[in-house]
Amino acid sequence: MTELFTGATGLFVAATIVYLIKRDRLQVRHGVSWMFVAAMFALFGFAPSLLDRLAASLGVAYSPTVALVLGGSALIIKAVSSDVERSLSEVKITRIVQRLAMLEADIKRLEQYADQDRQESIDR
């Protein structure tokens, strides 16, 4: 029963990722890493003996510990990579805001020049 639950959870996560990509709620490059996590869930869920063998080879007596440690590590890596992505996005926004301000300053200056020209031609 436990195998079924864990394996089904993996499949559910995979289906959710596919749905989010289909609905354009998630970019495919972010989806790939989550699909990998879902695949691991399903694999170790439906075939727990693989996890037992992995734990034995690593010298871990209680095999679910390996799953927890791997899962925790994967989540930390994903969280850090998300922050890297977010930093990049924030820098892009900063650059765009700066560019917008620069262009606004130039537009204002051009408008002033145009007003001056107009006034001079009226005066003439």
Binding site: V91, R95, V97, Q98, M102
Partner: protein, 244 residues
């Protein structure tokens, strides 16, 4: 973009809710250098900073959202770089930095061939600020008298280094900017200047313990991350008294 002479000096003043002080600062600046190009970067103020600065004939860069002190400063430097500036002088719009002291900075730059000159005033620091400086110096390996002074002159090489995208990852103009300059072989010199208390407003950082703590944590991490093996001791230029 509009063209301006390549030999121009640009004055960049980030401003956030500085309607009280900015007019006086700009008038004084105009008196000191009638030909300089003055760029006020409005960091999403809620008051009449933009109108006041425009009335004083400054170029105003209006930010649609707040980018913080360094984001605003970098916007002004990008603008100056695009126009073909020769050097950029940065100063606060709150009246702390006196336009009458600019000559000390430019004189130091001319005499020492430095890429950056920092106007230092170690007396101005509060107890909090001085504690912060000591820790920052220890962690970064950069020995400067006034680490957080925004009263600086940058030559074109330094400006080009600081307007790049990598520099947009920084949030303040102190340790990160200094580490970037020194790490790229720029010569940075300090010179003593007089400063006065701000006319209005308060420091965005050194006004409460939680903000100082958060700023210190960020700056310490940045200092340790950017630290190099060698120590950097900034040269101190003694300005001639004739310019006082």
């Amino acid at each position: 973009m509009l063209e301006t002479p390549q030999t121009a000096t640009y004055y960049v003043l980030p401003a956030w809710n500085e309607e009280v002080a900015v007019g006086k600062v700009l008038a004084e600046l105009r008196r000191v250098d009638p030909l300089g190009y003055i760029v006020v970067v409005d960091d999403a103020s809620c008051d009449e900073t933009i109108k006041t600065a425009e009335a004083c004939g400054a170029y105003v860069l209006p930010m649609v959202c707040q980018l913080g002190p360094w984001g605003a400063m970098q916007a002004g430097m990008r603008y100056a770089a695009e126009k073909g500036c020769r050097r950029v002088i940065t100063m606060d719009a709150d009246g702390q930095h006196l336009p009458s002291q600019i000559l000390r900075l430019t004189d130091a730059m001319n005499q020492t061939d430095a890429n950056v000159v920092i106007g230092a005033c170690s007396q101005r620091g509060s107890f909090l600020r001085k504690c912060a400086w000591t820790i920052m110096k220890l962690c970064s390996g950069i020995s400067a008298e006034d680490l957080t002074s925004g009263f600086r002159v940058y030559d074109r090489r330094a400006v080009d280094l600081l307007v790049g995208e990598e520099a947009s990852y920084l949030e303040h103009q102190d340790m990160g900017v200094l580490a970037r300059l020194l790490g790229n072989g720029m010569k940075v010199v300090e010179v003593d200047v007089e400063m006065q208390s701000r006319v209005s407003g308060a420091s965005r950082i050194f006004n409460s313990w939680p903000k100082v703590l958060w700023y210190m944590l960020q700056t310490l991490l940045l200092s340790v991350s950017k630290r190099r093996v060698e120590r950097f001791n900034l040269e101190k230029y003694k300005a001639a008294s004739a310019h006082d």
